[in-house]
């Protein structure tokens, strides 16, 4: 296989940091942003001034945006704990469901678009060393997209920062601050089928303060659903620095949790990795995030060998990523520094890369 590579095609500025993006009907792009806005974004390559239009606003950071083709609705999620059903044609919300009393950290649709999972949980002091306190509400919830009804509630230790459906839609996985990932079988009334514990993703502060930071920030099932990839930052003793290793790890679980692969030390720098996306052909995946030290914050890795195939320093922090269904383009969302209010800076970013493979 020829090594894949990325070539920058376009950069779009939005009012604030992009936490999530999705492709909607008619190849339209939608972004969930830190200012609470859900934006329809024009990816036209003609210079048209502002490339975005706000369609819905949450009361707090908008953390998720998902398009269900089967149910023909967008569903956004927010730090206000709400899920909003949005009609893309009317560009307005049709329904709001209070999913959590705290933030929705991440939300994901099942592959058939019929279920939406969302995670929550506040990190509160639960021990002398600031171990997380137990949850006060279910940390993982699954709702029916057609009706908005709650279909599953799962316990976990908060905060639960990431969630993913398997490609066949039968398994749900969710990861937390402490590097604990639980897998549930949705075909068996949500029975817990595995628990992966990888403290490599969390750091207890020694240098600046005694508390935990990090966690599993994104996870993704491999195309054959035989393994699960976790993304985040390696352990650090200085939680105020964000200087842990750029980290992914690959686990199987069917015969008990087993680590099958990880980012090689010689191929990674330091910084929080927040997003992972598989290329539609399933041969390689992207991991991206923030660069603390090193020369890249977005890199392509070979699914089979785990070796790094290509890397880029995007120049700003990446929080979300998506390949187009044909695999020819990669969209990365994130943001630069906010800047002083007087600057009225558009600090959100979506950058589009052409993918050659």
């Amino acid at each position: 296989m020829k090594s894949p590579s990325l070539k920058k095609a376009k950069e779009i500025k939005l009012p604030s940091h992009v936490l999530d993006l999705t492709f909607g009907p008619g190849k339209k792009l939608y972004a969930a942003c830190l200012d609470g806005g859900i934006y329809e974004v024009s990816t036209s390559f003609k210079p048209l001034g502002d490339n975005f239009q706000e369609i819905v606003r949450h009361d707090n950071y908008a953390s998720g945006i998902n398009w269900s083709a089967s149910q023909k609705t967008l569903i956004s999620a927010s730090y206000d704990g709400d899920l909003k059903w949005i009609d893309p044609k009317e560009k307005k919300e049709s329904k709001t469901v209070k999913a959590h009393t705290f933030w929705s950290w991440q939300s994901r649709l099942s592959p058939d678009g019929r279920l939406i999972a969302t995670t929550t949980g506040q990190y509160l002091c639960g021990g002398y060393k600031y171990e997380p306190a137990p949850e006060t509400e279910p940390s993982v919830k699954v709702f029916d997209v057609a009706t908005g009804e709650l279909r599953h509630s799962f316990p976990h230790t908060p905060p639960v920062q990431s969630v993913a459906f398997s490609n066949d839609g039968k398994i749900l996985a969710a990861g937390n601050l402490m590097g604990e990932v639980i897998l549930w079988d949705l075909t068996k009334d949500g029975k817990e089928i595995a628990r992966i514990e990888t403290p490599d993703f969390t750091g207890w502060g020694i240098i600046k303060g005694h508390y935990y930071t990090g966690g599993v920030f994104d996870l993704h099932f491999a195309p054959d659903d035989q393994s699960l990839y976790l993304v985040g930052m390696g352990s650090t003793t200085d939680p105020a620095a964000g200087n842990g290793k750029q980290l992914w790890q690959k686990f199987t679980w069917k015969d008990g949790p087993k680590k099958e692969g990880a980012a090689a030390d010689g191929e990674i720098g330091q910084g929080l990795m927040e997003t992972l996306a598989f290329h539609p052909k399933g041969k390689f995946f992207l991991m991206a995030g923030r660069l603390f030290k090193g020369n890249w914050n977005a890199a392509l890795f070979d699914h089979e060998s785990g070796s790094r195939l290509h890397q880029k320093n995007i120049g700003f922090r990446i929080s979300t990523s998506a390949f187009t269904p044909d695999g020819k383009r990669l969209f990365l969302g994130g943001g630069a520094n906010q800047g002083r209010p007087s600057e009225k800076k558009k600090w959100g970013r979506i950058v589009i890369y052409d993918v050659s493979s």
Binding site: I206, I207, G209, Y211, F316, P341
Partner: protein, 440 residues
């Protein structure tokens, strides 16, 4: 169970005499012609003797706590972050939603939202807010704790007059500061005794093989020779060492007071399981035993260059509970009006978010809270603009703050230090005014 008498410590009645004011009185009055009993007949000393012991607990939020997630929320603005504001028991005053317990006792808290200082980095910020003045080499100004130890401390106290409870041994710049000179020109006897976490008081028990009488005899002999050495050589260094030894010796009789395990579990549960809460509770018990100044720190967890909101969702509720429990406990024990509680760091945090989801250092406009002795509950002073980027009403700096703290504790902020051979230094320079709006 009877409540402990806060005017007592280590059981010795001479602790009731305020050391500094006693000495000031000696130098001010015609003492030589008075009998010891007559001394207390003079109005000055009667007044002093009748004064209640003042105490101060400093919750040192090292690293620089964010004003947005605590005392000066800006919900709905581009700089406000994800946390909302909530009303408090004081109409019109709102705190961050992360402080619901403090909101319920806002009428007992005094909030300053308009601190405006100049130190942008930790080392200079810690020095500035611990000493109350910018450096003036080669002189080293004593820290707030050292000054209060001298001013509020008790004659020959067994319990240290300056206690630093800090369970986190590390802390980058704060670690460096901790290793430095706290007491400055006041001398080593006003340095803190550091306890907490990994820092225990070791070997504090008298060996069984030495009787109490033998121990006292040895101590008398040691004291005699040490003082003779100090006097013969006119050595201030020897004086400092002797003072330090006295303090260590005193700790032998007070070591049990530093044991968290002796505190009832119900109290420990109320303060929360974290190290900061447990040591704040220990501070309360030490003040009950008579300690004049206790500083509680926990490394630099407030320095949120990365994950500001992810960290503050945890550390602020912890602080919320600590301030609430401390204030209520002191009030329940009748000690709140004589104990000043201060919660502050060396600066605030930037309104704008950086790429690492963090807030950076920000001395331009920041907040702090006080409660108890000498300050007016429910007071809210100063204001910042819509985005929290500038002070727009009543700016105050470190000198105003120190003048406020000293005034609240009945110390003349503009009085001079008595140090031979030094230029004239005042407890607060430039005749800086206290923040009168919060003084009771």
């Amino acid at each position: 169970m009877p409540k402990p008498d806060p005017s007592q410590n280590c059981g010795s009645p001479d602790h009731n005499i305020h050391r500094r004011k006693f000495l000031q009185g000696l130098s001010a009055g015609a003492i030589s012609s008075m009998s010891f009993a007559g001394l207390f007949g003079a109005p000055t000393f009667a007044e002093i003797a009748n004064k209640k012991q003042k105490h101060c607990i400093l919750l040192w939020l090292c690293g620089g706590p964010s004003q947005f997630e605590t005392w000066d929320p800006k919900p709905g603005t581009t700089t406000g972050g994800p946390f909302k504001s909530i009303p408090t028991s004081v109409p019109g005053t709102h705190f961050s939603e992360l402080l619901p317990k403090c909101a319920s006792i806002a009428d007992k808290l005094a909030i300053v939202r308009s601190m405006h200082t100049k130190a942008k980095e930790h080392t200079e910020g810690i020095n500035l807010l611990q000493r109350g003045h910018a450096p003036r080499p080669p002189f080293t100004r004593p820290t707030m704790g050292s000054v209060l130890a001298q001013q509020l401390g008790q004659l020959d106290s067994k319990l240290p007059n300056f206690i630093l409870l800090d369970p986190c041994p590390e802390g980058n710049e704060f670690k460096g500061f901790k290793a430095g000179n706290w007491a400055g020109w006041l001398g080593a006897e006003y340095s803190p005794v550091r306890v907490g976490g990994d820092y225990k008081i070791p070997n504090a028990n008298r060996l069984d093989s030495i009787s109490e009488d033998d121990h006292e005899a040895r101590e008398a002999l040691r004291k005699f020779f040490s003082k003779k050495y100090e006097n013969d050589r006119k050595s201030s260094a020897a004086g400092s060492w002797n003072a330090t030894f006295e303090r260590v010796n005193g700790l032998m009789s007070c070591a049990h007071l530093f044991d968290l395990e002796r505190i009832p579990q119900a109290d420990r549960d109320r303060y929360g399981p974290g190290a900061f809460g447990q040591h704040a509770l220990l501070a309360r018990t030490l003040v009950e035993e008579g300690a004049p100044f206790v500083m509680v720190a926990n490394g630099m967890p407030w320095d949120s260059h990365v994950f500001n909101h992810e960290i503050y969702q945890m550390v602020v509720p912890d602080l919320d509970n600590i301030i609430f429990q401390l204030t209520k406990d002191l009030e329940d024990r009748g000690m709140l009006e004589d104990t000043l509680v201060i919660a502050m760091g060396e600066f605030g945090r930037s309104p704008w978010i950086n790429q690492a989801r963090g807030r950076d250092h920000f001395p331009d406009a920041w907040s702090l809270a006080m409660a108890g002795g000498g300050v007016q509950g429910g007071a809210l002073v100063g204001a910042t603009d819509k985005y929290g980027a500038e002070v727009i009403e009543d700016p105050f700096n470190e000198e105003n703050l120190f003048a406020t703290i000293f005034s609240a504790l009945d110390i003349d902020p503009h009085s001079e230090f008595e140090i031979d051979g030094f230029p004239t230094f005042h407890h607060v320079e430039n005749k800086a005014a206290p923040i009168s709006q919060i003084l009771s």
